[in-house]
Structures are given as C-alpha cells and as structure tokens.
Amino acid sequence: MLRGLYTAAAGMITEQRRHDIVTNNIANLNTPGYKAMDAVNRAFPEMLVSAMGGENPPAGPLGSFNLGVFAEENLLRMAQGDLHQTYRNQDLAIVSDIQVNGAVFDASGKYVDAAGNVVYQPQAFFTVAGPDGRPRYTRDGSFRTAADGTLTTENGDPVLGADGNPLVVNEPWDTISVAADGSLLDAATGAPLPGNPRLMLTRVDNPNLLLREGNGLFRYTGAPAGIRQVQPGDRVEVRQGYLEGSNVDPAQSMVDLMTALRAYEANQQVIQFYDKSLDKAVNEVGRV
C-alpha cells in the first residue's frame, strides 16, 4: 500500500482528537473554575528512505520524513478566569498570581530563562477530599452545606480545612465572612470562629502534572516536593461572593474548530487522491 494513505489517515484521526478537545472547551464555556485544554500534536519518529533498484541508485539515504502525526497530549491552560459576582456567601473564588524569583511568565504560564531552563507558574487550588479519601484540587468555588454542616462541592465532596479535616460550619453562612487567606470570620465582629477554621489552599508548582478527572476536580501526579499549602507571601486571595468563570475564549475556539475541520477535509482529499491512484493501478495498469 502507498505510505501516504496511512499518513493521511493518521492526520484525520489527529484532527478529530483536536476537534473533540475544542468541543469540550466550548461545552464548558459557563462552567465555573474550568481551565481550557489545548491538544498538542507530534509527528511520528522520522524514517530514513533510500532509493533501491534502477540503474545507478545513489549511495546512502535520500533523506528522511515522518510517517504520520498523532495527538500527543492535552495541555491545561491555567490563565486566571474572570470573576463573576453572585452575592452568595458560599461562593468563593481564588485569584492566584504566584511569582517565582525573576520569572516573567507569558500568557501560557511558562518562562524560559537564559540558560534554557523552563519554569512553570505555580497555581493555587481549593483542596477537596476525593472519593478514595485522597485529596483532589479544584478552582470551582460554588460550595454548599450538607445537613451536618460540612462544606461540600456541588457533587458532595467535602472541602478540607487547613488541618486536613473536612470543614464543618454550624453557623448560618450569611453570618460568616471569608478572609483573603481563607480563614472564616464572624461577619459582624470580624473575630475568627471557634476553632479557627481556615480553608486549605494548595499550591502546585507545576500545574502540568495535574490530571483532570471531571466534576471540576484535578488529581496531582507529581512528586510530593512540588505541592504544599499556600504561604502568606504567595499572591493568592480568596474572594467571597464571587465565582471564577471559565477561561475559554469562544472566538479562538471557533477558529480552532474551523481549522480542525478544514485540516480533516484536506486529509480526506489526500486519501481520495490515493484512492484514485490505487484505482488506476488496480483497474487500468493491471488490466488483462
């Protein structure tokens, strides 16, 4: 079979994957705390080709080319989403702008220094107990209260306090105010509530090592050294009465959708041309 047939088929599959990712971004245009994903393509490893047969075949390889492309990974775009005011006391939003010595991060949260070392901007998250008891992380701050007073996500997962236990609050939430560092205070007096409850805010040094699980939760898959609680010097704030919107850009998503579709179509045309060539080879050249 002609090599190019498989290359074009690989191209179609890859553009299909990219289209799927962009569609998921568009579907989550209004999901609070959603971070857009970008698909990254990679070419197959290169192969050397050489001429064979004929009268005077040139010695050595002619050159190399890639035999296809595949969708390699899905990168999280961790840009801060806009804050929407909801006036609901249990809605919390994180504004995170953690600085690292001497790094000026670009829009995608990456910095490359003069020596070529890559540094990613750390991000802050709320900490939530996952279904298996291990912590999960989220930026979706639309919390609710269960019957026993535990603060939970919309899905029922308990939100953890700074001591690692689920946060239990028995006062009505309209009397509670949340300070910028996550501590819960009495709204009237400004004094901390009994027991000094405070939300656990987690700082993840390399957000690329977070795996999205759905329902707004992320799981950390990196080394334990790269994750810790937010310290007072980090530029992280919790705002009460606000929700962080999704950071999906609808115009860019539409453009990505169109380019994926047209690239898919271009690959489809290539396959059809190969089909015509094979048609000639089978039906005309080989005619008896």
Binding site: I26, A27, T145
Partner: protein, 280 residues
C-alpha cells in the same frame, strides 16, 4: 467522532435546563415572596485514554495518557434568599418578613403533620364556623403561631381585629377597643442551611424526608423594634427578588453558549459526513 457529538449534545441539554430555570424566574417576577433560583454548571467525567510508555517523548509536559472530556451538566440549583422590596398594601392580613426568616405553615390541617415554610405573606382570615376565624395562606394552609412556646394555629374571634407587632406578637382588639386578647406570637423560623430547602409548590418550601428539620431551620426570637435584623411588618407584601436585568443578561449569555455548542455539533456532523464519503 462520537466524543464531539456527545459533548456538544450534553452541553446543549444542560443549557436547555438553565434556560428553563431562567424562564421560571422571569415568569415569577411579580409573585409575592418568590425567591429566585440560580444554578451552576460542572464539567462531566473526563476519561483517560491509555498511552504506551513509548509516548513519553522528550518535550512532553503532562503525565502519560490522553484526557478527553465529555461536556458539561447542570450541577445544582440554589435558592437565593435575599430580601425582596416591601410594598405597602394597608391590608391587615398581609404580612411581610424583613430579614432572614420564613413563616411556618402546615400543608394539611393537622398540627402534627409535616411543616412547610413560606415568605408568601398574603394571608387571609377564614371563618371556621365556631365563632372565630383561622389565619391561612391564600392556598388554604393554616399558619402556625406559638402560645407559650407551643405550636398552634391562629384563631381570631369574630368581631375582633388582628394586630401584629414587629416582634410577631398577635393581639386582637374588639370594635371599641375595650377588650384586648393576647393570641401568642407568630412563629418565624430562621434558615441555617438554605441549600437543603426544597420547593414543594404553592410557593412553599419543605425539608427533604431524610433530613431533620432542626438542622435546616431554627425558631427565631424576634425582639421589639426589629432589633437583630428580623421583623414582621403588617400591611406590607414582599415582592419577588427577581431582578429582570440580571435574568435577561443570563438569558443572552445562555443563548450564545447554546449557539456555540450547536455550531460545534454541526461541525462534528460535517466531519462524520466526510468520513462517510471517503469512498464515493
């Protein structure tokens, strides 16, 4: 291929539900004591496509595996209990609560039955046939008051006028003001966990069967002159807390999100058509 269509279809369904919620809010923009509902979206489960270790090429940033999302859903609906504005009506059976509180009623005429709560203070006095009148909501549910801390219905004798002060004390005056009867206090409850209130129709709220009402509401102690932020106003009605500007703005953004998802759906459909037409 199916991933795009499934994600776009799920998102369109969720947006439809949100549209229904907004329409319900707008329809009740004039209902006395109506509290608007809000909702949030959440992304659906994400599946991890397994990748072999050979995929760990230099320059790769994320762990092995390709994550794929499946769209969004409407995660939960919340009741927004913020205060609506008070409209004076002058009608002595119209009551309004100022602050975080609800009236308590019984849905059947049985004092021992399950309680329901409401802000719809458009009450009426209905004759019982025993020489007095009972205070009911305009759908017929009797209102609860407290006499010495015990729940009871509120009966006003014929020929007497009911006067309710700001701390909920109910007094009945006869025509020439010579006889004053103390009918107890109107029961007002404070909501500690608004997330657990459920709408049960007729503008009433209830508590789910498996939840103890004491966890969700507690009896409020009102002080005279409305101190403590909670007071009962006779002759006023509380209008709905729906702000039409906010609802219409949400409507516009939901419509645009719907349009974008529908566009993604038709783009996926075009791709499927191209695959189907590969061979003529």
């Amino acid at each position: 291929m199916n991933n795009s269509i499934a994600a776009a279809a799920a998102s369109v369904a969720a947006l439809q539900q949100k549209l229904d919620l907004l329409a319900n809010n707008i329809a009740n923009a004039d209902t006395v004591g109506y509290k608007r509902k809000t909702s949030v979206f959440e992304d659906l489960l994400t599946s991890l496509q397994p990748q072999e270790n050979a995929f760990n090429q230099p320059g790769r940033r994320t762990p092995i595996g390709f994550t794929q999302g499946w769209g969004a859903r409407l995660a939960g609906m919340q009741i927004d209990l913020s205060q609506g504005s008070l409209q004076p009506t002058g009608n002595p059976t119209d009551l309004a609560i100022e602050g975080n509180g609800l009236f308590e009623v019984r849905t059947t005429g049985d004092l021992a039955g399950p309680p329901a709560y409401t802000r719809h203070g458009d009450f009426a006095l209905v004759p019982t046939g025993n020489g007095d009148r009972i205070l009911v909501t305009n759908s017929g549910q009797p209102v609860i008051g407290q006499v010495n801390g015990v729940d009871d219905f509120i009966y006003v004798p014929d020929g007497y006028e009911m006067k309710i002060s700001e701390d909920g004390t109910i007094l009945a005056y006869n025509a020439d003001g010579s006889d004053v009867q103390d009918l107890g206090k109107l029961k007002v409850v404070q909501v500690t966990k608004p997330d657990l209130l459920q709408e049960i129709g007729d503008n009433l709220y209830g508590v789910p069967a498996n939840v103890n009402p004491a966890d969700v509401v507690q009896t409020a102690v009102l002080s005279a002159n409305g101190g403590g932020g909670l007071s009962v106003r006779q002759g006023f009605l509380e209008s709905s807390n729906v702000n039409l500007t906010d609802e219409i703005t949400d409507l516009v953004s939901v419509q645009r999100a719907y349009q974008l998802s529908a566009r993604a759906l038709s783009s996926a459909d075009q791709m499927m058509q191209m695959a189907a037409n590969l061979r003529g």
